[in-house]
Symmetry: C2
Subunit: 139 residues, 2 copies
DNA sequence: TTATCAGTTAGGAATAGTTACTATATAATA
DNA sequence: TATTATATAGTAACTATTCCTAACTGATAA
């Protein structure tokens, strides 16, 4: 990804083009496979050691907010506990940060069948969980 | 859930039955809807203010390890970023804490069709993500 | 019932990841 | 080029969780 393309992307989103943002976005694109913040920080600092950690966090947030990149995990980050230990799925209610059980046998069968037909080479599946993100609507 | 049932559960798992464990497990069962640690701590402290926070964390871990309860989130807890913003899914490789993209149009169609046929009353779905948990096997 | 001991707990210190703060700097604009 | 709103550096603060250790206790077996 060339610097000019990066600048385009920022411009399209009406984000001010700063050297820090360009560098951080370049880095995220260059890193494969879902880096965490620390990995991004390290990689950015290799090229520009003077970009501050706070800026990197803030910039990543800005990018996520504007759909330039995404976060693998959308809901809040504290661990949640679940008294159910059977195979079930979850609704992630974005507005109020709630998690609701979603139990549906047809969905389980559907997934079971799909992954039986579509084995992932060399990968042993332990469980498959569907995350349904959205919101309750009041009409 | 009666205290005796709680004691049964702990006994089945060969866990020492302590007042702290009984109280914490009772609390988790009594709280609906995926409490986080803080909510559990607060609820436990309402009845037993002298159970220490460290104990509660440790006990919850023990319960999860022994399959008494589960954690909604299994992989590591730091945020991961993703340069892809299109609809795709993830393999969660447990052994080495890696996240790998899983892109499959058939799966997307399957899910789209399923949720079109199975609307969730009052809930507007924004996105559906499949989390495939497991490990790579070397043969 | 009591003695033993491995496992558990309380309480506080330490840590890691992230966010907040603020004075200074700078990109976009007119 | 001057203006202004926004972004940045550097650091302090915060939050969730883990670590540490001396004291304690449930389970077991005599």
């Amino acid at each position: 990804m060339v610097t000019n393309q990066i600048r385009e992307i920022l411009k399209d989103k009406n984000l001010k083009i700063t050297p820090q943002r360009v560098s951080i976005l370049e880095t995220v694109f260059s890193l494969k496979n879902h880096p965490n913040a620390q990995q991004i920080i390290d990689a950015v600092h290799k090229k520009n050691p003077n970009i501050s950690v706070g800026t990197i966090y803030k910039t990543l947030d800005t990018f996520v907010e504007n759909g330039v990149i995404s976060k693998v995990r959308h809901t809040d980050e504290t661990s949640r506990y679940d008294w159910r230990t059977d195979n079930h799925h979850h609704l992630y209610v974005e507005d109020d940060n709630q998690i609701v059980d979603y139990i549906n046998d047809e969905l389980n069968l559907l997934l079971e069948d799909f992954f039986r037909r579509n084995r992932i080479p060399g990968f042993e599946i332990k469980s498959v969980k569907v995350h349904i993100n959205g919101n309750y609507i009041q009409e």
